[in-house]
């Protein structure tokens, strides 16, 4: 039964995607149909959660095989995957609802919902995959659907470039991950997660390759540019893909395979997570574009999750993934409403938002992100901090917390407290947009994580990771103090300055875009031109040279045939002709020469007779 729920929850969105494509492009009901499918899938996943929260289910079917090896597909249903499944489908459902209103004026409705459905189905596929082959299949499909979704407004060259760079950067990670998976399969003889779990850790090289894939998918350093550039896509897409689900897939994956990774890999991952957390925070601090701030914030939070999952406890990271998905999606959707209403994305120009329909969700989302008490974010963040041992992971986590607080305060200040010259807030957002926002805002409260706002070992966490008991400890109070003090300091700072000194020039992603172009695409283009040159100027002329030698040889042979072989014949005939001509002298017609020669011949004859 549980199996059926799981299968339904990932097949329904795909089916919906397929069915929607049969409608006309500007159909009005495409969105509603897609939402229906996704909603049913969400319900199915919730039912699944009720069934399989404690008792895992594992099913496996053979997929393909060759002589010596076999690869299978299956479903691995346990607490983590069920939680993730509900999360993905919930957020996808909210985004679908939201899109019905947000995207209602778009021309290519069917295309949008088909792509959304493809993405949702693929993402859910990753969640429930039990074998690494299968997971890779859906992983790549997620890359592909993100390309489709980011590039939705395909007439805009910036959008197109963002989409291609997203796909390509993901593909780099994906292919490295592919090598890692293949190596694991060869090394361990199987790719099924349950079977791998009992076999100890994988090789460090394979682990690093998998980590590369995770880094690309979750936009860690050095792959973070695709995420900030992906903000060119529609805001609901950003909410779904870049806040909650796709980028979280990397974190989800590392949580899944945590026990398989050797400690060196985990340490490197933690390091990368902390660097990314800091870089993302700095980027958010320097940006003025609303979506860009949120994108950098996501990058920073993902780094935080990675750090927590590898240096701390995977369960804590999963918890934070969960809460982050909710509050980040909330912030994105609210941002979408703001952008829709004001047609403006620069926080300096948006002006003061007064409508409580917007301010309340913003404040709740921000509070959860900062980690104020009574929010879910508070619980998950502190759980991570508590799980980190002392040392550099802890300090970087605190630094990330600090940065988070500062940039979030800055954002809130600009949006809510600072007035600007052009407030053109038009219209009320309609129900379709506000319902998901309301749901997600409610999700920022502590209740969804644990009954008690201060007990970290609430019902959710206990199910995720039964090893540790989390109580608010020393670190929690330190963090709280940090948060409050930095928030107030930031508030007063940003009254006068719009940004922090020294953090600037991030508009081009810390110059990484240019760097990648110079390091990556330009050498690649030159290399391809070298290859073309080799083909056109080296190999082809070599072939032509052989052909020319052939022709030259043929000409030479022809010459010999004409002048030497034939020439011999001609020589003989010439001799004959010449001698004939000379003999013709004897027939000149002169009588006396006739007589002379006749007489001479006679004399010679007589002499010959006599001698």
């Amino acid at each position: 039964m549980a199996l059926n729920f799981a299968l339904i929850s990932f097949l329904l969105p795909l089916a919906g995607s397929l069915i929607v494509t049969m409608l006309a492009q500007n159909s009005r009901i495409a969105g509603r149909i897609a939402t229906l499918f996704t909603g049913s899938a969400m319900i199915s996943s919730i039912l699944l959660a009720f069934q399989s929260w404690i008792i895992p289910v594992y099913a496996q079917w053979p997929w393909f095989q060759t002589g010596g090896s076999q690869w299978s597909v299956g479903m691995l249903i346990n607490t983590t995957s069920v939680l993730m499944g509900v999360l993905v489908l919930l957020i996808s459902f909210c985004v679908h609802l939201y899109s019905i209103s947000y995207m209602k004026d778009e021309r290519m409705q069917v295309s949008y919902y088909a792509r959304l459905g493809l993405f949702t189905g693929s993402m859910t596929g990753i969640v429930f995959s039990s074998s690494l082959v299968q997971l890779f299949l859906f992983w790549e499909l997620v890359s592909f659907s993100s390309f489709l979704l980011i590039g939705y407004w395909s007439e805009n060259p910036r959008v197109v470039r963002a989409a291609t760079s997203a796909f390509f950067m993901n593909q780099i990670g994906d292919l490295l991950m592919l090598s890692g998976i293949v190596l694991i399969g060869i090394d361990k003889g199987t790719l099924d997660l349950p079977e791998l779990g009992g076999q100890g850790t994988i090789a460090v090289s394979a682990g690093l390759l998998l980590l590369a894939g995770i880094m690309a998918k979750s936009a860690q350093i050095p792959f973070l540019t695709w995420l900030t550039n992906a903000m060119e896509g529609p805001t609901p897409v950003s909410a779904l893909i870049h806040a909650a689900t796709m980028v979280a897939a990397g974190i989800y994956f590392i949580i899944r395979i945590h026990t398989l990774l050797p400690s060196e890999v985990l340490q490197i991952a933690a390091l990368i997570g902390s660097i990314t957390g800091l870089a993302g925070g700095l980027g958010a601090l320097a940006s003025f574009d609303l979506k860009r701030i949120l994108a950098f914030s996501t990058i920073s939070q993902l780094g935080f999750m990675l750090l927590g999952g590898t240096a701390g406890t995977p369960g804590a990271a999963m918890l934070h993934l969960y809460t982050h998905a909710i509050f980040k999606a909330l912030l994105f959707l609210t941002a979408g409403v703001i952008i829709h209403q004001t047609n403006e994305q620069d926080i300096r120009k948006i002006g003061q938002i007064k409508s409580p329909l917007l301010t309340i969700p913003l404040l709740m989302g921000a509070a959860s992100m900062i980690g104020l008490p009574l929010t879910a974010g508070f619980i998950s963040k502190e759980t991570i901090i508590e799980s980190l041992h002392s040392g550099w992971p802890l300090w970087s986590a605190q630094a990330v917390t600090l940065l988070t607080t500062v940039y979030t305060t800055r954002l809130i200040y600009f949006l809510l407290a600072k007035s600007s010259s052009q407030p053109t807030h038009s219209g009320r957002p309609d129900a379709f947009m506000m319902m998901p926002v309301a749901v997600l805002a409610a999700g920022c409260l502590w209740i969804i994580v644990s009954w008690s706002p201060v007990d970290f070992s609430g019902s959710l966490m206990r199910s995720l990771d039964q090893i540790h008991n989390f109580e608010p400890g020393m670190m929690t109070y330190v963090t709280l103090a940090l948060i409050i003090s930095s928030a107030s300091a930031a508030f007063f700072w940003f009254r006068r300055q719009s940004t922090v000194p020294g953090v600037n020039g991030e508009e081009d992603n810390f110059g990484l875009d240019v760097l990648y172009r110079n390091l990556g695409s330009w050498p690649l283009m030159r290399l391809s031109l070298v290859a073309e040159w080799t083909d056109q100027r080296l190999i082809n002329p070599a072939i032509h040279f052989i052909a020319y030698i052939q022709v030259a040889w043929a000409l030479f042979t022809g010459w010999i045939d004409k002048w030497v072989v034939d020439g011999t014949i001609t020589l003989i005939t010439e001799i004959i002709i010449v001698s004939g001509d000379s003999l013709r002298m004897f027939t000149r017609g002169k009588i006396q020469s006739y007589i002379l020669w006749a007489f001479l011949m006679l004399v010679i004859f007589i002499i010959w007779i006599i001698a």
Partner: protein, 101 residues
């Protein structure tokens, strides 16, 4: 005088006759040369007749003289006709008996 001197003499006359025939640029003189050659043969015949008991040599010589006379007459007649036809007595110009190119 050695008996061979006569033979040498006949040979010498014969050569002169040949040279006349070959070299001279007058058809009549070619006939003269022919006569000389006949006479040289005659000298030979007479000499060998004198050395032999048989009268064959002398008889032959008489025949030769007669033939020479007839031949001279005919030859002259031919030369007259040739001269009449070709309007020249230069042998070089009587050269129609040759290869037509």
């Amino acid at each position: 005088m050695s008996p061979d001197a006569l033979l040498y003499f006949a040979a010498w006359i014969f050569c002169v006759g040949i040279c006349l025939v070959i070299v001279k640029r007058n058809t009549l003189l070619m006939l003269v040369g022919t006569e000389l050659m006949l006479n040289a043969a005659n000298v030979n015949l007479v000499y060998f007749n004198s050395r032999s008991s048989l009268p064959d040599g002398a008889m032959f010589a008489v025949f030769v003289i007669v033939v020479a006379v007839c031949e001279a007459a005919v030859g002259l007649a031919i030369m007259m006709r040739v001269y009449h036809f070709y309007q020249t007595s230069l042998p070089d110009q009587i050269s129609e008996l040759r290869e037509r190119t």
